[in-house]
Each structure stands twice: as structure tokens, then as C-alpha cells.
Symmetry: C2
Subunit: 245 residues, 2 copies
């Protein structure tokens, strides 16, 4: 099973970096607040971040009192930025695909992953390894693209009216799990679709207890500033899950 | 909060009875097998069935060894059929809306509900009452219309090609929970939409542990006989949940 390292593609990397530099994006408005809302008190906690990217979350965990943070990412380019911009004596960055975390020799209080699992083919395998790496009662908190997004199988994603307003999400193949090819900066970005029930069942079968799920939606305040985000009421972009060992 | 008793509407009742008399329907092919696959061994168990309708499930539980079954339904007409067709000394049918189950004075090993909750406005209230009526380690197993169905807010449900094949589900307002009016035999059938995450969170907040979720899909065998059910790969009709006190 090949691991995908699209973030080391130069064109992809440049495009991704640019949108993340714009502070008004769906990650900052919806995904990050939801992710941190699920976090327990981080004081003196040890944390593993799967697909840590630029390391902003790793830095955030240290600022919230974490004792030790390990951030892993398959992309050397992402970790170069992490080491420049989000360095700290309590953070260690390791260049490693998340499929290989069984190589780690210590255990953690919290494992998190932000918007990386939809690139991973063997979700069940990663979940098993996370379970083994967690201390008893440890928390596993992750976000991914919402299954209503990952199911997309080509064609127009939306039906729009004559003024370009989004009327319907063109939903297809929700029940067919597996690989999807998409274009995001470059062609052939591979993502993997799993249904809501499949995600939940995989976690439970490995031994986790589900604590909470969030599909973030815009608040009135966000809508008043950025009215285009009303389309999230048709299709939330993200799914977040908190579960406990 | 008014309780809806659409099944006592004569036109609705006649239409519903007719489709259920046809043995080839989505309930028989998908929902019932999934529901029974979630059942523990029923030997000597006490069971409460919320929205028991014609009582087929109640009879099925007794046939599988249940010691005592109480079936409640808001519709007198449905219970008349239940008492004619699915009577047994171990089954008691009670004409009662499921919002009133707090009036029951005994506890149960299993509470089930088949395709009734999408008619219920106060899901959290029902879940709390179910929790209180269950013995320790008791199981709560239910099916409902899939959230990809209940979110439907009017307009054409599908985009079809020139030959009438379903290309896309026209998904809208998934993120907006609450009442939907639909036409099924009669106008103004009220259903209530809840998102996947909202259903899960309600169960967890009341104290349940989630054990399993199923969104049933057709097998190869079913597809070879009834190829139109391939559309379920775009949109599963049902969601089933098993959880434990």
C-alpha cells in the first residue's frame, strides 16, 4: 500500500502554502476552533500529532501547557517550514508517514490529526496503531473532510441557479468507499472516502469509545462577515471525532 | 409539542398497508435484516418496541425467545392490525405516543424502534426516557431514515439523465436540523431531520455508549434480482444504531 506524499509536490506545496497564508479560510474559521474545543486540559500532557504539516497545532499545544509534543509528517517540505516557524524545545518533528507510527517507542496522553486522514488508505491500520500508542484513558481527536465531500466522484460538485448560487450538492457514490482522484492545485490528488458509519465502526472495533462528533457550521457572526459560507449548511466541509481509549 | 399521528389518517394508512403487503420492499430487504443483525440473544429478554406498528417485530422477538414484549404505537389503526395478526400471550400492545413512555413502570433489557424516530420532534427527550427504562447494560437499537434522506427540503430529489437514470442526489440543507414537510400518500407528513453527528452526540450526552452503526447497502445477490436498488449506493435509505446503557 503506497503512501501518498502530495505535499512534497512543488506546485501543490506552493498552492497550499498560499491559501493557508490567507487567514480567512475554512480551516481557521471552522476546523481549528472545533478541534481545540474537543481538547482536554493540555497541562503536562504528551501529544502526538499525525500529519502535523507546518506545526501550528504543535506550537499551540505547547502554548496550552503540553509537556512534550511529537509532530510527524510524510512531507519534508512541510516539516522544513515547521522547523522554521513553529520550533520549540518541547516539540520534535519527525519525517515519517503516519502508517509507520508503530515504530515509535513511547506512549502518549493524546493523539491528534488535523485534516490528514482523507489521504490515508488504511484508516483501520492507523487507528489500531493510535490505540496501541495511547496511554489508558488517552484521547484520540481528529478532523477530516466530511464524508459528504470525500464521496465526490467527478463531475460538477454543485447544481447552481442562473446567478451562480449553489442550490444542491450533487451527491453520488456515498455508499462506495475507497479511492477518489481529485484536482487540488495538481491532478491526481488521491483521497479516500469512508461513510459516517464506517468511520464510527472502525473506531469502535479497535476499542475506542466515541465521545463526540462535530460537523462545523457557520455562526451568525461568521455569516455576517463571510456570507458565502452559508453553503456549509448544504454540505459541512469537515467532520471531527473525539474518542477515548 | 404536538405528537404526530399520521398513521391514523385513513388514506395514509391504506397506502402504507398496501406497500407493506408487497414483500419486496426496502424494509424487508435492508432495514429488517440490519436491525435483527444488531440484536443480542433474545432468550428470556424483556423488550420494549417504540412505534411497533403492525407488531411483526414484536412477534419476531417472541419467536426468538423473548420472555415479554411491550409494543407501543400512537396509531390505534396500526395496533388493531397488530392484535389481529401478531398476537401472543407474551406480547402487550399499548396505544401510546413514544413521548409518553416515562409513564411505564417497569424496566427492559432491550428497547428497539424501527423507522419511527424521523417522525419524532423531541429525539433527545425520547432517548432520555429510553435510558431510564433500560436495565443496566441494556441495549437500545433503532433504525430511522438516513440523514441523507431526512434533510430533503422540497424540489426534485434526484438529478436524472435523459433515460431517467439517477445521476445525483440533490442534497441541500443537511446542516439545518428540524421539521420537514413531505408528501407520502398524503400531504403534510412531518419528519424531523437530524445530522449524523447530532444523533451520535444526543445518545452520548444521555449516557449511552455507541456500539455500531449501519447504513445498509445492497448485496450482489439483491442487485442481481432488483437492479434498481443500485441507487442506494448514492443514498442509503436507512441508518441503524446500536448503543448500550
Amino acid at each position: 500500500m503506497a503512501q501518498q506524499n502530495i505535499y512534497d509536490n512543488e506546485i501543490f506545496f506552493a498552492g497550499y502554502k498560499k491559501i493557508r497564508e490567507n487567514q480567512v479560510n475554512a480551516n481557521n474559521l471552522f476546523e481549528i476552533p472545533a478541534l481545540f474545543s474537543m481538547m482536554p486540559n493540555l497541562k503536562d500532557k504528551t501529544i502526538l500529532d499525525l500529519g502535523c504539516g507546518f506545526g501550528e497545532h504543535c506550537k499551540g499545544f505547547v502554548e496550552r501547557g503540553a509537556k512534550k509534543v511529537i509532530g510527524i509528517d510524510i512531507s519534508e517540505k512541510m516539516l522544513e517550514i515547521a522547523k522554521q516557524e513553529n520550533t520549540d524545545s518541547k516539540i520534535t518533528y519527525i519525517n515519517m508517514p503516519m502508517e509507520n507510527i508503530f515504530e515509535l517507542t513511547e506512549k502518549f496522553d493524546i493523539v491528534i490529526s488535523s485534516l490528514a486522514f482523507h489521504y490515508v488508505e488504511d484508516f483501520a491500520g492507523v487507528v489500531k496503531n493510535v490505540y496501541n500508542l495511547l496511554n489508558e484513558n488517552g484521547a484520540f481527536i481528529f478532523s477530516q473532510e466530511n464524508p459528504l465531500c470525500t464521496c465526490h466522484s467527478g463531475g460538477q460538485r454543485w447544481t447552481k441557479d442562473e446567478n451562480g448560487n449553489k442550490l444542491y450538492l450533487n451527491l453520488s457514490n456515498y455508499g462506495i468507499e475507497g479511492e477518489r482522484e481529485s484536482t487540488w492545485f495538481v491532478d491526481n490528488v488521491k483521497k479516500y472516502h469512508r461513510t459516517f458509519s464506517s468511520i464510527v465502526n472502525t473506531l469502535i472495533e479497535v476499542g475506542f469509545s466515541i465521545n463526540k462528533m462535530i460537523e462545523p457550521l457557520p455562526t451568525e457572526e461568521i455569516l455576517s462577515q463571510y456570507p458565502d459560507y452559508k453553503d456549509l449548511f448544504h454540505k459541512p466541509d469537515f467532520l471531527l471525532v473525539k474518542c477515548t481509549k
